[in-house]
């Protein structure tokens, strides 16, 4: 076995670039009506997204040239930083409320969502922790429990904003990491069982919760309430058919579908470009996952493998939930579609994570 520093994985880079280009186009198309209406500028969202992307790409280039092993050392500091931000954002006057959640921190356009950063911070720290304490991972009390406490501390802080979507993605990503790191399957079953019992208790204590959860199964039972967004999303996806209504041809973006440029951008994509376009994007995400995990499998060190799989897991879980919501498979949560949805914090952070992933691909080993 030889070890080389190789060029970045071109397939991974290529799929990422494709997604970014499609994302820009869709942000433009989906955002015209709202941009025109709210800002008297149909290019409003495109322009801003372009700026975010430039910043994100700069971060990506820098990070793809930064040896990922650097993060092993810095991860505890970064995690503490993220925790501090998560606490700060909850303080009125520092954290800003947008869309009913106190999730933003900063000034005006230069504001960030600490929970987005926590996702990456947690991935780095867990990759570091699980690499260092690998032998303990098979033990529930000594290995798993401290990690679980850490995860739930972060989850709890995020839920205080509240931001269930981001919290869920972060927790899901952590479990992917624990699974990849070799935690016992039995422990997962125990955790799963405990989770199910907890969920059942919540439902028994307040049966309306069950209705809220299951309303997505039949959104037409409450078309103006809980079912509204799903119905409007399906009204976009369904008429798209095989080829779609053509670029710019969406009708649902005209105020029928809330947030067409962020959480429901995939619905507009499916409406305008049909199964061909939407399916292509799904395949691109599949390719991204494949190349990312391939890097994780071939990188020589445990930290690199866990970091890569954590980043891939985070991105893919978001895709899964977002597309699931848009097509009516999941209840509405409020998760953006990675690389496509409009949003500064999300995009720059994802591109930064992409840069780290690209750097890891440089360290893949080849077997003869």
């Amino acid at each position: 076995m030889k070890k080389h520093v190789q060029p970045v994985d071109k397939i991974l880079l290529c799929s990422l670039c494709c997604l970014l280009i499609i994302g820009l186009l869709m942000v433009y198309s989906a955002g015209t009506a709202l941009g025109e209406d709210a800002m008297q500028d149909p290019y409003y969202f495109l322009k801003r997204q372009f700026l975010f992307m430039a910043a994100g790409l700069a971060a990506m280039v820098v990070l793809s040239r930064t040896d990922y092993r650097l993060w092993q050392r810095w991860s505890p500091v970064l995690l503490i930083g993220c925790f501090i931000l998560l606490v700060l954002v909850l303080i009125p006057g520092i954290g800003m409320v947008r869309g009913g959640a106190r999730s933003w921190i900063g000034v005006g356009a230069f504001s960030i969502q600490p929970s987005e950063f926590m996702k990456l911070g947690m991935i780095m720290y867990l990759a570091f922790y699980l690499t260092r304490h690998q032998k303990r991972i098979t033990s529930f009390t000594k290995g798993l429990l401290p990690v679980l406490i850490l995860i739930f501390a972060a989850f709890g802080l995020i839920m205080m904003q509240p931001d269930l979507g981001t919290g869920a993605v972060m927790t899901g990503t952590c479990f992917v990491l624990l699974f990849a790191a070799g935690a016992r399957i039995r422990h997962f079953f125990i955790l799963g069982g405990a989770g199910a019992v907890g969920l059942a208790a919540l439902i028994v204590s307040a049966p309306y919760r069950l209705q809220r959860i299951t309303s997505f199964l039949d959104p037409w039972s409450d078309p103006l309430g809980t079912g509204f967004q799903i119905i409007q999303s399906l009204y976009a996806v369904g008429p798209g058919g095989l080829f779609g209504l053509g670029f710019g041809g969406s009708r649902q973006k005209y105020y029928y579908l809330p947030e067409p440029q962020t959480d429901f951008i995939f619905a507009i994509l499916a409406e305008e470009t049909g199964f061909i376009g939407a399916g292509f994007v799904l395949v691109l995400f599949g390719v991204f996952l494949w190349r990312g995990l391939a890097a994780a499998m071939t990188v020589p060190d445990m930290f690199g493998a866990l970091l890569a799989s954590g980043i891939c897991g985070m991105i893919f879980i978001q895709v899964l939930i977002n597309v699931g919501v848009v097509t009516g498979l999941f209840p509405v949560t409020g998760i953006t579609l990675p690389f496509l949805s409009y949003g500064g914090s999300s995009l720059t952070l994802l591109l930064a994570a992409g840069g780290i992933l690209l750097n890891i691909t440089k360290h893949r080993t080849s077997y003869d």
């Binding site: 649902q252 105020y255 399916g279 499998m297 597309v323």
Partner: protein
């Protein structure tokens, strides 16, 4: 560490496989939503995008048998507003309010309503063309003019009960408008424009025009000329007699087609609210039911002839002025009776005891069987709302007395349409038709006949031979008997008078009768049957032969002329010609009550003066000769001055 790293790789491979499976699942779900659910979702989505500007279907016209329009439409557009598209509601409201004549703040409320489409009702509903074009010329974005129409009845109150009327939404509310509402109303269309969730027009999607399906035109069996004659005669009768009500029906006896139908009081369908609801809700010719009186004797006659119970010329009947049935004396209307008569004379004289004899010969089973076959006691099935059935004696409870009174038309209750239908069967050769008014459905655009109704024969009630005898007898009634008021030279009119007693709370009213006449012509081959009833005519002897017979005579003769029927030459000559100077002796009526006068039959016109029920004096004096049909003036008092 190495061993463990293998585990990690295995786990990663598992994650990759799960991820690939997830992508496949999402693709399948996407395909399911876009292909399998796609069509249904597209429909639902289109509904949610489109805003319909309704395009009312033109209601079908109602025409007479010669396509004269009896009910049509006039253009009356409606104004609609799409508030989201109106840029300056204040200014728009001010301008619109001025044109529509509506309060400005009300218009402003409409234009700012949180609705995708608002009807400006009532001020902007069914306005006239001039107003509509003014609204259009305002050029306000978001204000739409929807084509609409208002029902119009060009002949006013003409045929009003039969036509009925349609409401503001062009929905049939009474009469034929209601009975045939479905076919007349057609299907509404619309112009759909696609809009965003805020109600603004989506420019990149074309408007879709869904054509309204116009209602079909309904051609009636009504002959506008015959109807005009009927309306004219009822107006004249109303002016002359100030009756409580009046009605007339004309029917083609060979098909059951209604040629004309009218009643008083009437109303203008466009202002139906001006009259009480019972006026427009009750179409008396089919709705009202009352004791028919002597017109019903035609049924008894037809049955007796069909059963060969009597020979008109050779069988005789002696009328002493009454007939005793089960110990009760049933009096003839003529005091002292008609004496020895042939049965033809029994019919001519409308002699009650003679008809009781006929009924007795038939027996209750046969007579009631005929009454049933002639269609009494049940709806005729005419295509009009609110038809009555009439009331007959329950055959179980019919004793000799009930049989006797039924024979001359008392104690039964029938509708005018039943009588017309039954008499038509008696004179047309014996076939009972189901009467009808709706003749054809016509495509309003091509003018082609879509469907036409053929006459429906329900029963063969009597033979052609019997029918001929009935016509013969009834022609004699008009030429020589009680019906001579209906005689018009050359038309061979046959018919029968009727004077129906009105029963209220089980008692007959005094001096309050429905006088009627049913006639047909020509007697050799009847083309028309006409029935007229006048309810409680004032200042006249309430007798069918005096009041109703001349009206029917006029309706029949005028109608046959406009229908193009030839006059006949071989008529049964009238006993005394109309313009004869033949004089008759004036009877002595002093001391008689109006009731007695009424029960008698005098071929004179009566003029009453004074208050009271008893004739105190008369002019001319008894014994003086005056012209038949001339005027006798009676001075009334409550006390009799003669010692009669």
């Amino acid at each position: 560490m190495r061993v463990s790293f293998v585990t990690v790789r295995k786990r990663l491979f598992f994650i990759l496989a799960a991820g690939a499976a997830a992508v496949v699942i999402l693709l399948l779900r996407l395909a399911f939503v876009q292909f399998s659910m796609g069509e249904r979702l597209t429909e639902l989505a289109q509904d949610s995008w489109s805003r319909d500007v309704p395009f009312e279907a033109e209601r079908g016209d109602i025409l007479d048998r010669d396509k004269e329009v009896l009910a049509g439409n006039v253009s009356a557009p409606s104004v609609l507003a799409a508030p989201q598209q109106i840029e300056e509601p204040e200014q728009a409201a001010a301008r619109l309010a001025e044109v529509l004549g509506a309060p400005e703040d009300k218009v402003h409320d409409w234009l700012t309503e949180n609705q995708s489409l608002v009807r400006l009702s009532p001020e902007g509903r069914k306005i006239n063309k001039e107003k509509a074009s003014k609204v259009r010329s305002l050029g306000i974005e978001g204000i739409y003019i929807a084509e609409d129409s208002r029902r119009h009845y060009p002949k006013g109150s003409y045929l009003s009960h039969v036509l009925g009327f349609a409401g503001i939404d062009n929905q049939g509310l009474t009469g034929l408008e209601k009975y045939y509402d479905e076919q007349l109303s057609g299907e509404r269309g619309n112009v759909s424009f696609f809009s965003d969730a805020k109600g603004q027009k989506l420019e990149n999607m074309a408007e879709v025009y869904e054509k309204p399906e116009p209602g079909k035109d309904l051609m009636l069996t009504i002959d506008a000329d015959v109807q005009s004659i009927i309306e004219r005669e009822l107006d004249a009768a109303e002016a002359l007699y100030q009756p409580d009500g009046a009605l007339a029906i004309a029917m083609d006896p060979d098909s059951g087609e209604i040629l004309g139908m009218s009643s008083r009081p009437d109303f203008n369908p466009e202002n139906f609210r001006d009259v009480p609801p019972e006026v427009y809700n009750q179409n008396k010719p089919v709705w009202s039911q009352y004791e028919p009186g002597s017109t019903f004797k035609i049924i008894t006659l037809a049955a007796a002839l069909e059963e060969n119970m009597v020979d008109l010329e050779n069988d005789h009947f002696n009328d002493p002025g009454y007939i005793e049935v089960s110990g009760t004396k049933l009096h003839c209307w003529k005091k002292g009776g008609h004496g020895e008569q042939t049965y033809l004379e029994v019919v001519q004289n409308s002699c009650n005891p003679g008809f009781v004899a006929m009924g007795e010969k038939l027996g209750k089973d046969i007579l009631f069987d005929y009454i049933d076959q002639f269609g009494f006691g049940k709806e005729t099935g005419i295509d009009l709302q609110g038809e009555g059935t009439g009331i007959l004696f329950d055959p179980e409870n019919v004793g000799p007395l009930e049989l006797a009174t039924t024979s001359f038309g008392q104690g039964v209750s029938v509708t005018p349409i039943q009588q017309v239908t039954a008499v038509a069967a008696a004179v047309n050769g014996g076939t009972l038709y189901r009467p009808f008014i709706g003749k054809k459905w016509i495509d309003p655009e091509s003018g082609k006949v879509i469907s036409s109704r053929t006459p429906k024969a329900k029963e063969k009630v009597i033979s052609e031979e019997t029918s001929k005898k009935v016509r013969y007898a009834l022609e004699h009634v008009v030429a020589k008997g009680t019906g001579r008021g209906a005689f018009v030279d050359g038309w061979r009119i046959g018919g029968k008078t009727g004077t129906a007693q009105k029963a209220v709370d089980g008692k007959y009213l005094e001096n309050n009768h429905i006088v009627s006449f049913i006639g047909f012509a020509p007697a050799d081959d009847p083309e028309i049957v006409v029935y007229t009833a006048i309810d409680n005519p004032k200042d006249t002897l309430q007798f069918g032969g005096v009041v109703a017979a001349p009206i029917v005579g006029t309706i029949i003769s005028d109608s046959l002329s406009v229908m193009g029927v030839e006059k006949r030459t071989n008529q049964v000559e009238k006993d005394k010609q109309w313009d004869d100077e033949t004089l008759v002796e004036t009877p002595d009526v002093t001391g008689k009550s109006l009731k007695q006068l009424h029960q008698a039959y005098y071929p004179f016109q009566i003029e009453k003066e004074g208050e009271g029920n008893i004739v105190a004096a008369q002019s001319p004096q008894p014994g003086e000769k005056i012209k038949e049909g001339g005027v006798i003036r009676l001075y009334l008092d409550d006390k009799s001055t003669s010692s009669d």
